[in-house]
């Protein structure tokens, strides 16, 4: 399962860097990796969500112009946050889930913006959120609608053996 998860993450990374640029809208692409982190957090809980997030963030850090480790930290935190969401919400309808994913992506942008400010990068946070954070949140939420059934199908083929514990998330249409 771990190997398959790592391969899936790698495939999503390649999609994100090679296949998505042509479908970007005003320079903004949906964040497939963040959708995967969110889904992993919901299904696996805080600790494993954080681990998946940190691993994905590390991969992103290697091929991004971000300050070293910034995306690893932010993605790790977001993975844990997704785990918390999954633990506290028992049943999510697809549309509510899309809304939560949009807010989640916006929170990711906000956190990243703060971290960039913290390390002294010249970020105009309000402008960045308006130009990048908000469109990214909308686009990612919409793409999430398509991605969730795919992830569910993929996980159905390779089921998670260990139970996440009370509050493990289930989806309904």
């Amino acid at each position: 399962m771990k190997v398959i998860g790592a391969l899936a993450l790698l495939a999503l990374f390649l999609c994100q860097t090679v296949l998505l640029p042509p479908i970007q809208v005003r320079g903004i692409r949906p964040d497939l990796i963040l959708i995967a982190i969110y889904y992993a957090g919901l299904r696996l809980g805080e600790a494993r969500g954080a681990a998946v997030g940190a691993a994905a963030g590390l991969l992103l850090d290697l091929f991004s112009g971000s300050p070293p480790g910034a995306l690893c930290v932010v993605s790790g935190v977001m993975g844990a946050a997704a785990g918390l969401i999954g633990r506290n919400i028992l049943n999510i309808r697809a549309l509510v889930n899309t809304l939560i994913l949009g807010l989640y992506t916006l929170a990711h942008g906000l956190l990243l913006g703060f971290l960039l400010l913290l390390v002294g990068r010249p970020v105009e946070l309000t402008a960045a959120l308006w130009r990048i954070g908000l469109p990214e949140a909308l686009y990612t939420a919409v793409v999430g609608l398509v991605c969730f059934p795919l992830f569910r199908w993929a996980i159905g083929r390779y089921p998670i053996e260990e139970a996440v514990g009370p509050g493990a998330l289930s989806f309904s249409r």
């Binding site: 990374f13 005003r26 964040d31 091929f63 112009g65």
Partner: protein, 274 residues
């Protein structure tokens, strides 16, 4: 009577058959009563024969048509497959021609500039929307180093910020962390071109008395030693002067379309021109 008949049945039947035979053999009887039956009988039989023949012909025609259609269908499929293949070949040929044209332009540019440059392919973009970088297919094994300038025949792309053995990360001019020494081509006023939140870039540190107008071309000044002097950076789109400020705010749109980049040149050595 019945008993008599049953006793001599064979005789009666034989006699009857003989009588019928005689009747049919009689030329007169053959001509007269059969001639009466001939017309209606031939009409009925003819109609039935005609209908049967026509039906058989229809079935035969339909069968022939079916066979022909089946053959046509097979032929159609094979022709469609051939057409698809030809279309794919034409698309590939067009792609190769376009690539050839781009490489010719890059090569011609590389041959005419007075510095050393290496041609690289763009193989990826930044995975995050928050940073503007791209990945090229050459790294430190090919002699690329951090801070080397990346250009195209259209103008400046950015500079290398990270190298790996077989690939490098290029920070685009439009990223908020990018800073390139530049000057206005017309007035020779100098400053720094930096990325900004939003599309385009800004020309910073231009004093109030600097002569800059919308439409002015901004080129590299060659001061930082990363880029040769005079490479196109962009065109001024807005100039904001505030009397209370020391410096002007100038926006510019880069000359290069970063979304369409496929091949770039890395300036590996400026030689003695900078």
């Amino acid at each position: 009577m019945w008993r008599f008949y049953t006793l001599h049945r064979r005789f009666f039947i034989g006699t009857l058959l003989l009588l019928f035979l005689l009747l049919f053999l009689s030329l007169r009887l053959q001509q007269q009563p059969l001639a009466l039956l001939d017309r209606p009988l031939s009409l009925v039989i003819g109609t039935i024969q005609s209908a049967v023949t026509s039906g058989t012909r229809s079935v035969s025609d339909a069968w022939d048509r079916y066979i022909a259609v089946t053959r046509l269908d097979d032929e159609n499929r094979s022709l469609r497959a051939e057409l698809d293949q030809l279309r794919e070949e034409r698309r590939a040929a067009a792609e190769i021609a376009a690539e050839n044209e781009r490489l010719r332009t890059v090569l011609a540019f590389r041959n005419q500039v007075p510095f050393h440059a290496q041609t690289c392919r763009v193989i990826g973009r930044d995975p995050s929307n928050w940073f503007e970088t791209l990945v090229i297919d050459r790294g430190d094994r090919d002699g690329l180093r951090v801070n080397m300038g990346v250009i195209t025949p259209e103008g400046v792309v950015g500079r290398i910020i990270k190298t790996m053995p077989r690939m490098s990360l290029v920070l685009l001019v439009t990223d908020r962390d990018s800073a390139i020494a530049a000057q206005i081509q017309r007035s020779r006023d100098q400053g720094i071109v930096e990325g900004k939140e939003g599309p385009g870039a800004k020309f910073k540190y231009l004093p109030q008395m600097a002569d800059v107008r919308v439409g002015d071309v901004v080129v590299t000044s060659g001061l930082a030693g990363v880029f040769p002097k005079g490479l196109m950076l962009g065109t001024v789109t807005a100039v904001r002067r505030n009397e209370t400020e020391l410096l002007q705010e100038v926006d510019l749109v880069p000359q290069v379309n970063f979304n369409r980049l496929e091949e770039v040149l890395v300036v590996t050595s400026l030689g003695d021109i900078s």
